[in-house]
Chain length 139, copies 2
DNA sequence: CAGGATCCTCTCTGATACTG
DNA sequence: CAGTATCAGAGAGGATCCTG
């Protein structure tokens, strides 16, 4: 019970002592990461690649509702950040294999913790939404 | 070294056994949470409220570059999900105090872990981006 | 003080068609 | 197979003006 029982984590508490860094917010690594994994498909792709490497159409079939365009963009963004490794295999026709880098795999841990929180508190959040968005206040 | 040394967290590994839940992805609580905190201001507001309760213009001044519109929307979303409590104080003119709920405070923990990861790996990510986005491949 | 209403811009996302 | 290019719609985000 060292850091587990800390109500307010030290890291977030120590930061932001000023009125408002303004442009510092744009360059904040936390904001940066959140905006990358906060899109529609990134996390799902990361999780799938966390299970095993995938080829492009392998992922495409694996997700079904994702468009090639978004899959391409998602993989591109992940590769650009060094979370995913893209390797062209010398087959015929050429195939491309995507896999998590060490950095990408390391993201799985904090992600799983957040996922655990989300799953655990889903009912509370859903209930709160129902209260604030009554289906219809009596008909 | 129970869960700390696990390369791939059990939670994420156990999930998604199927080809692709498709609509299940839209209702996934993890995706849901990520899309809420993945926007531009939510996390910053949560962190500020994690330090102490704030009034509306208190937050507005505290962030500076946020528009009233986005601050309103952000607080609204957070209150709707039950992460933030909105209380109208009987002052004249009326003031409104925002504070984290217990649910909101509980989010600080997983958030700080992700923040720690982001800060720790920021240099690697930035370096990867520079490699993939050369400022100009020589003239 | 704490917003609401309106207008505008940009990005995300998706559907479709085409290519090496 | 693994993409690229283009078009179109929805939502995020911001600026400005107005209100109780």
């Amino acid at each position: 019970m060292s850091a587990r029982n800390t109500g307010v984590p030290a890291l977030l508490n120590a930061a932001l002592p000023r009125p408002v860094p303004s442009d510092e917010h744009d360059q904040c690594p936390v904001t940066d990461v959140l905006r990358r994994i906060g899109d529609k498909w990134t996390v799902l792709v990361v999780v799938l690649l966390g299970q095993r490497p995938h080829r492009f159409n392998d992922l495409h079939r694996g997700i079904e509702t994702i468009s090639q365009r978004m899959l391409t963009r998602t993989l591109r963004g992940l590769a650009e950040d060094g979370l995913v490794h893209r390797e062209v295999l010398p087959t015929n026709p050429p195939s491309v294999e995507y896999s998590l880098t060490r950095l990408g795999r390391s993201l799985l841990e904090p992600l799983s913790i957040l996922a655990e929180w989300a799953i655990e508190n889903q009912p509370v959040i859903a209930a709160s939404r129902r209260i604030h968005n009554p289906p219809s206040s009596k008909g």
